[in-house]
């Protein structure tokens, strides 16, 4: 069966659609002052990865995860503890991160992000690599070692 695959919109359209929500998330995570730099960093990261995207599915989950990663980096630089995953409502028909939380809670942050994006949102490794700012191979490895770790725990 041919699945409908969303095409990738011009970056302006993508930015206009998600900029407000990204800023809101960053302000919740970092406070008003630090959110500004993180906002710019989030969309520059997205822009750097944008021409490697192969489809336009789940761009919202993708950019919010980039934002969450940027917030973690900011927390780390400031020597503060941080959570890895953004709160996502389920409106685009995918499980929210929280639905996978009971499984993935105990994973290291990078593996957790990779597992949730791969299996919760069905993103491809190009997109996950962009979020993690890693190579495609490293993204694949993070997801598979996360899954292995979960298996060990479950069985």
């Amino acid at each position: 069966m041919m699945a409908f695959v969303a095409t990738i919109p011009p970056f302006e359209t993508f930015y206009a659609e998600h900029a407000g929500e990204v800023l809101a998330l960053l302000r919740r995570r970092l406070g008003r002052d630090r959110a500004d730099d993180a906002f710019q960093e989030t969309f520059l990261r997205a822009l750097r990865a944008y021409d490697r995207l192969r489809h336009g599915e789940h761009l919202r989950a993708w950019v919010l995860t980039i934002a969450a990663r940027v917030a973690i980096d900011a927390h780390r630089r400031a020597g503060e503890p941080a959570d890895v995953l953004p709160e996502l409502p389920t409106e685009d028909g995918r499980p929210a991160y929280e639905d996978l939380a009971f499984l993935t809670d105990t994973l290291p942050p990078t593996e957790r992000a990779a597992v949730v994006l791969r299996y919760g949102y069905d993103l491809d490794y190009d997109q996950i690599a962009a979020v993690l700012e890693s190579s495609v191979d490293a993204a694949r490895q993070a997801a598979s070692s996360g899954v292995r770790r979960l298996r060990r725990r479950i069985t």
């Binding site: 011009p10 970056f11 302006e12 800023l23 500004d36 710019q40 520059l44 822009l47 750097r48």
Partner: protein, 188 residues
Amino acid sequence: MTVPRELDQRFRDAAVHAGLLDAAYDVIESPVGPLLVATTDRGVLRISYVNGFEPEATLEDIARVAGKRVLRASRAVDDARHELDEYFTGSREQFDLTVDLRGQPAFGVIVLGELAKVPYGETATYGELAARAGSPKAARAVGMVMNRNPIPIVLPCHRIVGASGKLVGYAGGLDRKEQLLRLEGAML
């Protein structure tokens, strides 16, 4: 949540500065109405009359030709804005801007190249332009190229008129064609 204007502007400037865009555009004011001007690292890619519509279709078109990383960024179109402003105030007769004709068919590129040579304040007919492009019988095809001109004003399709000297047609509307020719002091 609305993104504050300065923050939004800062991101757009940073995107230009980092060289991450396939194309940048802005909508600029002019005496013939708002113009969407898009540029790439090769030159001006599009000028289109906005006509009050959302420019979504134009952005899709730009993305198809140049790449998906299309962003509104006023700073990137400064050169084009400056030369257009000078043109509209009558202090510039020739554009120094380079043009990006990617995506145009070969015949269109030849015709647009000849079109660029039609001097300020003068007109030529569709047939004359066809002859200059090496296809004297192709007046009608030249008309199609004019109608789809990706960079009007800079590539002066308003200077191309019917065999009788009548203005005939203009993708931006005949009013604008007349307005541009009057600005240039062309005999109408």
